[in-house]
């Protein structure tokens, strides 16, 4: 599948975000399940989304650099969660009296939640959900029939 190339910093930021949207527990996090692959191949096909995601990633990094002096990928999980939650809820800390929250940030965060979840829970054919790992987690098993024995597929 052809992919869009993220810049190295965009890619780091994307991976950090996706692993907060679907963090690891006894089942893998989004990045381990291949969600980056899903997003990169989707953005290759969906030009409009591509621009939104790329500029959103840059904006998130700018925000964390301005607030904490580090890119999103470099701050700890708790701070990452606070930033994402702040974007989604419209409540980011002010800085020097300046409002940091924008609706563009909220839309970007919502988009990330959606894209990452699609990658994690949709069929592996879309590039994420490697080895159907999320389906194993939730208990969705696909009938593995010998179609030829029953005459299909037609």
């Amino acid at each position: 599948m052809p992919h869009i190339p993220f810049s190295p910093s965009q890619q780091k930021c994307m991976i950090a975000i996706m692993d907060r949207v679907v963090p690891s527990n006894e089942f893998p996090s989004a990045s381990v399940a291949g969600v980056l692959n899903y997003i990169e191949s989707l953005l290759h096909m969906e030009e409009q989304l591509r621009t939104s995601v790329q500029s959103g990633l840059d904006a998130i990094d700018q925000l964390t650099t301005a607030t904490f002096g580090s890119s999103f990928a470099e701050i700890n999980f708790e701070l990452q969660d606070n930033i994402l939650k702040g974007c989604l809820d419209g409540r980011l800390p002010e800085r020097d009296g300046a409002e940091l929250f924008t609706t563009a940030l909220r839309e970007f965060a919502e988009l990330c939640v959606r894209l990452v979840s699609e990658g994690y829970y949709a069929d592996p054919g879309n590039g994420g959900n490697r080895g159907s790992v999320s389906w194993d987690m939730i208990g969705f098993a696909v009938t593995d029939a010998d179609w030829s024995a029953v005459g299909g597929p037609k």
């Binding site: 963090p23 829970y121 069929d123 879309n126 208990g139 029939a145 597929p153 037609k154």
Partner: protein
């Protein structure tokens, strides 16, 4: 065939109704051209893509129509009708149905419902709510009963004969036994028994056992919205259309978009013109016929009649009283979700397994009602999109935990309610928006009647009641709001009737004022029942095609 015309009959659309009409006519010896704008898709050509199918179509869909070159215009707001939106087939508001040989039946969920007597007599049973166009059908359940049976036998239905205590009289049993009950069936059956509600196994156009030379269902998890891997789901593509072709009397032309029903100088229908694209660009073709049957689905059939204007028919065919395209309806679908302590998902497809018709009629203060069933197996991503309790965050560890815990423990009880038709919910031709062949596209406007929402709110409560009685520990969902209702159950745009001022066709689908122009598909439905509509569409097609065969002899 008479020497004077290319064909006895041209049928426009090889869907649920069109396929049946083709079989009935060709097996009676008539020479038929069956036009289908889609292709004859194989199983492999209807991918199991969880983001692009007829159930959830975020970036595209399977089963057609092509997402480029087939827009529609929608009027999203009834209060400000000047605001319109152009949408592509996989986008919200389009009201898509599949576009392929078999039409909707190629990918449907295959619930196989007969309407009940009162569904044909809605106006006399309930009176006519203000502002609605509620009416009786010009035929009764008894007129359709033999043809329901024919559809059940020939297309193939499995079901629990005698299980539904509120169903209308049926002469014979279902040809196949019901599918085996799922675990959820058991849980909901116990709940319904506590409430004193009658339940039974949902009738399906699916082979519970091998039937008519094709295998049984393999109980997979990708039924609704996809093709069938074992070919055990019965549509017109694997039953009547192959039969029609086997007669040698049927020419099936796929990738053929009919753009007009042709009339001569005196206004008589003479045939059709169509654009055929075999992969090297569209070729304009025409075919003359003794009769034309429009079976393009409720939205496109209305559009085709409106597109076929001429000097004699300036407002389109059959439209001298401005009825074509009106009364667009479908089904509003109230449903509730319930969380149970124990897992109840067993993965046995298609998933829908138990139904009640306790509330289709006889509800105090309600015009009609609806059927309730459990839901088809949900794709995990659909569960993510539509099945989060309102307080659970959609990201982070809580979201992941919910997916892991909730998927096997959440049940969805849902069903179609009888739409109360509104004449202002309608299909017209869009001004200035055209399809790939530069033809004005369908514009959809209006909403369903408020009585429909009243019924939906009532049924939402029944869904919750059922889940509670079945042991759900948490229940959520939203009753539907007012909006245009059409979708995959679209119907009503060329309703049958005896009065040409309020209907488009007579009781056999013959367009008023024409001897040889017919509509045969969901467009004919005067009302759409509180049930999934396809078995009624099929039964009507059998009846009306038999009548046409007689008229042609």
């Amino acid at each position: 065939m008479t020497a004077a015309t290319d064909y006895d009959v041209v049928i426009v659309g090889a869907g649920a109704a069109g396929g049946i009409v083709a079989a009935v006519l060709t097996e009676s010896g008539f020479h038929v051209l069956l036009l289908e704008r889609g292709q004859d898709l194989t199983y492999e050509q209807i991918p199991r893509d969880h983001l692009r199918n007829q159930r959830i179509s975020i970036y595209g869909h399977n089963g057609g129509p092509d997402i480029d070159g087939n827009p529609r215009v929608i009027v999203p707001d009834d209060v400000k009708p000047e605001i319109t939106r152009v949408v592509r087939p996989h986008e919200g508001g389009y009201q898509n149905n599949a576009s392929t040989v078999g039409g909707g039946t190629r990918v449907y969920g295959a619930q196989a419902w007969r309407f009940v007597e009162k569904d044909f007599r809605m106006a006399s049973t309930y009176g006519i709510p203000e502002g609605s166009s509620l009416d009786d059908w010009p035929i009764s359940y008894a007129d359709l009963e033999p043809f329901y049976e024919q559809a059940e036998q020939e297309i193939g239905v499995c079901g629990e004969t005698g299980g539904d205590k509120h169903s209308a009289y049926r002469k014979n049993s279902y040809p196949m036994p019901p599918v085996p009950p799922t675990k959820r069936h058991g849980v909901l059956k116990d709940g319904a028994e506590k409430l004193g509600w009658n339940t039974f196994t949902t009738p399906l156009l699916i082979n519970s056992v091998p039937y008519h030379g094709r295998p049984a269902c393999v109980q997979c998890q990708h039924c609704v919205g996809f093709g069938c891997p074992s070919d055990g789901k019965n549509g017109t593509h694997n039953t009547v259309i192959p039969r029609a072709l086997a007669t040698g009397n049927c020419d099936l032309q796929t990738s053929a978009v009919c753009d007009a029903v042709l009339t001569n100088a005196s206004g008589t229908v003479t045939g059709v013109s169509y654009l055929h694209d075999a992969g090297n660009g569209p070729q304009r073709k025409s075919a003359s016929a003794r009769a034309v049957v429009v079976s393009s689905g409720a939205i496109e059939s209305a559009r085709l009649l409106l597109l076929s204007s001429s000097k004699c028919h300036p407002d389109g065919l059959g439209n001298s009283n401005d009825v074509v395209g009106r009364n667009l309806q479908g089904h509003v679908y109230p449903g509730a979700l319930g969380l149970f302590e124990e897992p109840n998902y067993d993965g046995i497809g298609p998933g829908v397994s138990i139904s009640t018709t306790q509330f289709n009629h006889g509800n105090a203060g309600i015009v009609g009602g609806g059927m309730l069933s459990d839901e088809f197996i949900k794709l995990p991503i659909i569960f993510w999109y539509r099945c989060f309790p309102p307080e659970v965050p959609r990201w982070g560890i809580e979201a992941k935990n919910w997916m892991q815990y909730g998927f096997t423990r959440t049940m969805h009880v849902i069903g179609p309610v009888q739409d109360i038709p509104d004449p202002n919910s309608r299909v017209t031709l869009a001004q200035g928006t055209v399809d790939r062949y530069r033809l004005p596209v369908a514009k959809l406007s209006g909403t369903t009647h408020p009585e429909t929402i009243n019924t939906a709110a009532f049924m939402f409560e029944r869904a919750k009641e059922w889940l509670t009685a079945s042991g759900a520990v948490k229940i959520w969902g939203d009753p539907p709001g007012l909006g245009l209702s059409a979708g995959q159950h679209q119907a009503g745009t060329c309703r049958m009737g005896d009065d040409p001022r309020t209907s488009v066709t007579d009781s056999y689908g013959r367009v008023h004022g024409h001897d040889n122009l017919y509509v045969m598909d969901a467009s004919l439905h005067v009302t759409n029942g509180g049930f999934n509509p396809v078995l009624t569409i099929m039964a009507l097609a059998y009846r009306n095609a038999a009548n046409l065969a007689e008229a042609l002899s």
